[in-house]
Amino acid sequence: MAGNEHDHEKTTIEGGPLERWTRGVITEPEKRNRLYRALFYVATGFFLVTTLFPFYWLLVLAVTPNSQILQGDWEISIGVLPFDIPLPTPQEFNVYAFVEVFQEIPFHLYVFNSFVLATVTTIIVLMIASLAGYVFGRLEFPGRGPLMLAVLMISYFPPAAFLIPLFDAFLGNAVVVPFLGIELFEAPRLVNTPGSMIMPFSALFLPLAIFILTTFYAQIPDGLEDAARVEGTTRLGALFRVIMPLSAPGVATAAVLTFIAVYNEYFFSSIMALGNEPHQWSPLVGGILSYQDQYTTEFNLMAAASIVGVIPVVIIVVVAQEKIVSGLTAGALKE
């Protein structure tokens, strides 16, 4: 027996270093765990660097004075390496840029515009998507499949396809019967108002919210809704008092996605706001772009403004994340 074991050990030791290491990982749990841990750190490190590096770059640009950005020395030498590598490092530490952002233009008004647009759109989307999600997720009715498919199809349309007709409509041109020239009615002029942006945004982001909420609402046991209705709510009351609170993670997800998408939106709002001015409801990105004029581009201010603009979203995500987590742990849906 002992001899046999010895033989066996000999064969394991044989083979190249890679083979020995592989066999070790397969047979020894400790080595395997070490490998898994190492892989975990490598993967996490990779994702952290790729997501946070642009943000770091932004920060470096913001604190570097504009003149230094174009002429500065962006290469650094790292110890043993025989050559310099390009890596953005702060050339100077000019925190004043974050104040200048608001002095140059009323940037806070642009942030406010985007914030209002995003908030109102999110509320509208959540209200309508909740009703739609309830109907699609909890009721049986003929034509549910085709209707759901129609919503899906519309969500695949490129938003730009709606732009020209919407712009025409929002300009307030009279609606005319083709060829006859009979004026039907005069549409309200909505360009430069939040209405011209909130309406298309709500329509564009509804399908996604409907899908998220449909899946979440469908999972709430029928018994809870029945209980609420027997206890004294209407179907709508049960939706808002029982089904929505229990679907908090889904509602939070839909809300955060919609909010961020609208907050960052530029394409529609840059066109619906005829000029890049805050009183025309030009959004956050419009504000950032107005640090650039015909002759100069103030990169440091654009970078600083970008960072300022991100802060509200960061706050909201952190808050919502807490909600999502608490919703997941408190959800005692054991049925």
């Binding site: 018994g223 809870l224 209980a227 209705r229 027997v230 004294g232 229990l246 049925e335």
Partner: protein, 400 residues
């Protein structure tokens, strides 16, 4: 408190008839059980009373109000669900007071009522817990408290004990009975467990295939089942059924003949009938001699013995053929088998030849084709010498 009346209530789902022309009259303060196998329409019946589903046709009254088209919240009913259905995001207090808060009661009144309800179901001191911190039985009590706190006219309970373990179920059964005595409210209780139905209810409504089979007090359902379904469904272990033909002087089956008076029966000789006898109404011939209403004896072989402690179930084979132990009909045993329950100190062994007699007064006859009961208990043949007329009268052979 109110009467509940269902008139010709029918509920169809596409092609499936879940409830078929149901007529029920439930008295004020009555505890009524709807029993039946799974999918027989008893839960649907209850949902139509609660207002969670609208009947396809028919009307429902609670008290003097027609509620057929009222939403659940306006019907004055409270319901306890099989899956308990506590709102997981609210604590016990909020769960119990949910209905009161919706009805804009003032805070003091809500406090008082919640305290009272918690006291009835013995939940004091747990009002600030979340549902997932409670045991199954406590959750069920919260659900009951939530129902009683609104002082509803009618209580609906949809298999409220089905998700509890066996011991707790028996305990909650007595609690519910106590509660009924205390509240004196109309209770409609759905269950597939006939032990619950037998022990708790004032009347049992047996439902099958969406149709009401019989509605009577538990013991009437047990002793005088209206048809084959009720006979087979009520009672555990279920009744023995043997098919046979009625003759001028009794019953002729494939395995044995019985003699009794057929003159007063609502069936003619030559009719195909099914004889039903409960396991506890079959006696070994030696014991049967002391029984005034014993029938003639039947020879059989004991097959399998199931000692239960307080009694022994003896499976009797009526012929030598290899029995198929399962039959296709609802009955749990083959047509050539009889189940007899005997005293635990009885000395019957497996494969003994056993001669048994039936208690004639507990013998049921059903029309095989329609399933309707013909009689419960038969009289001895007038010419029979064994039974004395006085003993007959004492034991009360019941004719329908």
């Amino acid at each position: 408190m109110a009467r509940v009346t269902l008139d010709n209530v029918t509920k169809r789902y596409n092609d499936v008839v879940a409830v078929d022309d149901m007529n029920l009259e439930i008295e004020d303060g009555e505890f009524i059980c709807l029993v039946g196998p799974s999918g027989c329409g008893k839960s649907t019946t209850m949902e139509t009373v609660a207002g969670l589903t609208k009947p396809t046709s028919g009307t429902i009254h609670i008290g003097d109000t027609e509620v057929t088209n009222l939403p659940p919240k306006d019907r004055g009913v409270a319901m306890v669900f099989q899956n308990i259905a506590l709102f997981p995001h609210m604590d016990v207090y909020d769960n119990i007071s949910f209905g009161l808060r919706l009805r804009d009661f003032d805070t003091d009144e809500i406090d008082r009522r919640v305290e009272e309800a918690a006291e009835v179901v013995q939940l004091q001191g747990m009002l600030d817990r979340m549902p997932d911190e409670l045991s199954g039985g406590q959750q069920q009590r919260v659900a009951i408290a939530r129902a009683i706190v609104r002082e509803p006219a009618v209580f609906l309970m949809d298999e409220p004990l089905a998700n509890l373990d066996a011991k707790l179920r028996v305990h909650m059964r007595t609690e519910l009975q106590r509660l009924h005595k205390q509240l004196d409210t109309t209770i409609i209780y759905v269950t597939h467990d006939q032990a619950e139905a037998m022990t708790m209810s004032d009347r049992i409504a047996v439902v099958n295939d969406g149709q009401l089979q019989q509605i009577d007090p538990p013991l009437v359902c047990y002793n005088e089942p209206a048809n084959l379904f009720v006979a087979g469904f009520i009672g555990s272990p279920s009744m023995n059924f043997v098919e046979g033909e009625l003759t001028t002087d009794g019953l002729e089956t494939e395995y044995f003949d019985l003699e009794f008076d057929v003159d007063d029966l609502d069936a003619a000789p030559g009719d195909t009938v099914t004889m039903g006898i409960r396991p506890e109404d079959i006696y070994p011939a030696t014991q049967a001699e002391s029984l005034a209403t014993a029938s003639s004896t039947v020879d059989a072989t004991s097959d399998v013995l199931e000692p239960m402690g307080d009694e022994i179930f003896v499976y009797l084979a009526l012929d030598d053929a290899n029995e198929e132990t399962m039959s296709d009909e609802g009955a749990s045993r083959a047509s050539n088998q009889l189940l007899m329950s005997v005293d635990p100190d009885s000395r019957i062994e497996a494969d003994d030849a056993v001669s048994v007699a039936f208690d004639r007064s507990k013998l049921h006859l059903f029309d095989t084709a329609s399933g309707e009961a013909i009689t419960h208990g038969v009289e001895a043949e007038p010419s029979a010498k064994r039974a004395s007329a006085t003993a007959e009268a004492d034991s009360g052979g019941q004719h329908e």
